[in-house]
Symmetry: C2
Subunit: 249 residues, 2 copies
């Protein structure tokens, strides 16, 4: 049952097609708010605007990023930007919606494919890491700017965060019920797992610098979590077939 632990590569391919679909949906939903009607140029410029915004916001903060900065980064004129977005708040809403949709759909797919508590837990861990690896700029933005967003978006961000954590709580509860996992507060455990997973996108510069790959980090997290959660006779991780080159201290 290695169905539950696909490699990053496999994940990445499935993700790309999902993104194309959702990007098109995004454009269609916002078409009536945009002055630009020709689909191909509009879709491309919208993507450029979003990417540039994430880049700038993650470098110096969304509030400090002026529309003049954005116009420089995208190559569009200051006035031209308003052909695509109504306001700065509108822009942030757009970005947020797109990211949440992508995240949820992608996670749900990946997790449903596994069965049994241990495999489900692994699948969830790996999917989350692969997802945040692929969409790192969005996750970082979403985390760092959440509290400064318009009220509605802040609430949405929290809801999404809680939903993900509950997913883990559920898996742990199921495992405890079957006697596969050791007892202990499932919510607390889920929170700790989430903390480990979030570190991957919050401190990416660090992991990059140390040459730790996602696969490596995934194995490390899985290992720590299983040590903490499985009932004592722990058979040391059979994982990490993909790269034997996880840096050794």
């Amino acid at each position: 049952m290695q169905h539950s632990a696909p490699s990053f590569r496999e994940f990445s391919d499935r993700f790309r097609s999902l993104e194309t679909t959702l990007s098109r949906e995004l454009f269609r939903e916002h078409r009536d708010q945009m002055r630009v009607k020709k689909e191909e140029t509009a879709a491309e410029n919208l993507r450029r605007i979003i990417d540039a915004t994430l880049r700038l916001a993650n470098r110096k903060g969304f509030q400090s990023m002026s529309l003049r900065d954005l116009s420089a980064e995208t190559g569009l004129s200051a006035g031209g930007l308003y052909a695509y977005i109504r306001s700065k708040d509108d822009l942030v809403r757009l970005i947020q919606r797109h990211g949440v949709a992508l995240t949820l759909r992608s996670l749900e797919d990946a997790i449903a494919a596994a069965d049994g508590p241990r495999d489900k837990l692994r699948a969830a861990i790996r999917a989350h890491l692969f997802l945040t690896e692929t969409m790192q700029p969005w996750f970082y933005f979403s985390y760092m700017e959440a509290k400064n967003l318009p009220r509605r978006e802040t609430r949405e961000a929290i809801r999404s965060e809680v939903a993900v954590e509950e997913l883990f709580t559920g898996i742990i509860r199921a495992g405890q019920a079957r006697g596969v996992f050791r007892n202990g507060d499932p919510q607390l455990l889920a929170g700790m797992i989430k903390a480990l997973l979030q570190d991957w996108y919050l401190k990416r510069w660090k992991h990059r610098q140390r040459n730790v790959s996602v696969e490596c980090y995934a194995d490390a997290v899985q290992n720590m979590v299983e040590h903490a959660v499985l009932v004592p006779p722990y058979d040391e991780a059979p994982a990490a077939a993909h790269n034997a080159t996880c840096e050794e201290g």
Copy 2:
């Protein structure tokens, strides 16, 4: 040797006196930059300004916080603020310096008091959690605004972060050398521990809402880390004498 695991209460008392000392030092260092010379009013107002800034910045972000907001929150007039700080950047520098000094001194003290890898690791975990519990607004501010700070302060923040992590790396290395800790990349492990510790102040609202105390969380982290790090015959945690009421799922 329970010297290494003081309760939050004990920590808190020692901390308070340290803070008084450093607050006074802070005022003296910046005295010449302030228009206000009378020590007692000046020191008090400076403290009010710092507290208000942390409150506001953590609510809506430092960039979005105007000096009008700050003047409303402190009760001082917009103009009056400039009797204490030269500029907004100056304010942030002040806050940052104060926090770093407090953190380092406090952590060093607490850790030096323990000996042996296992006790040192425990002491480090507890001290870090207690410290962030006490100074939560500062830590949150420092984490969230780090990248928007003036260049020099950003670098300082990263240095401080790395220094703390290396402290953990060192303890783990020592433990592995003595055969008390299992093998595995010490840097990666230290990073994961740090992630668990940071979650305490980054998601405080969540832990509050769930009624998890620092002591509880400290025990949970210690437990997970020891499961992952100690050589197999793991004697289940002798900790948590302080409160038997850690919420059970």
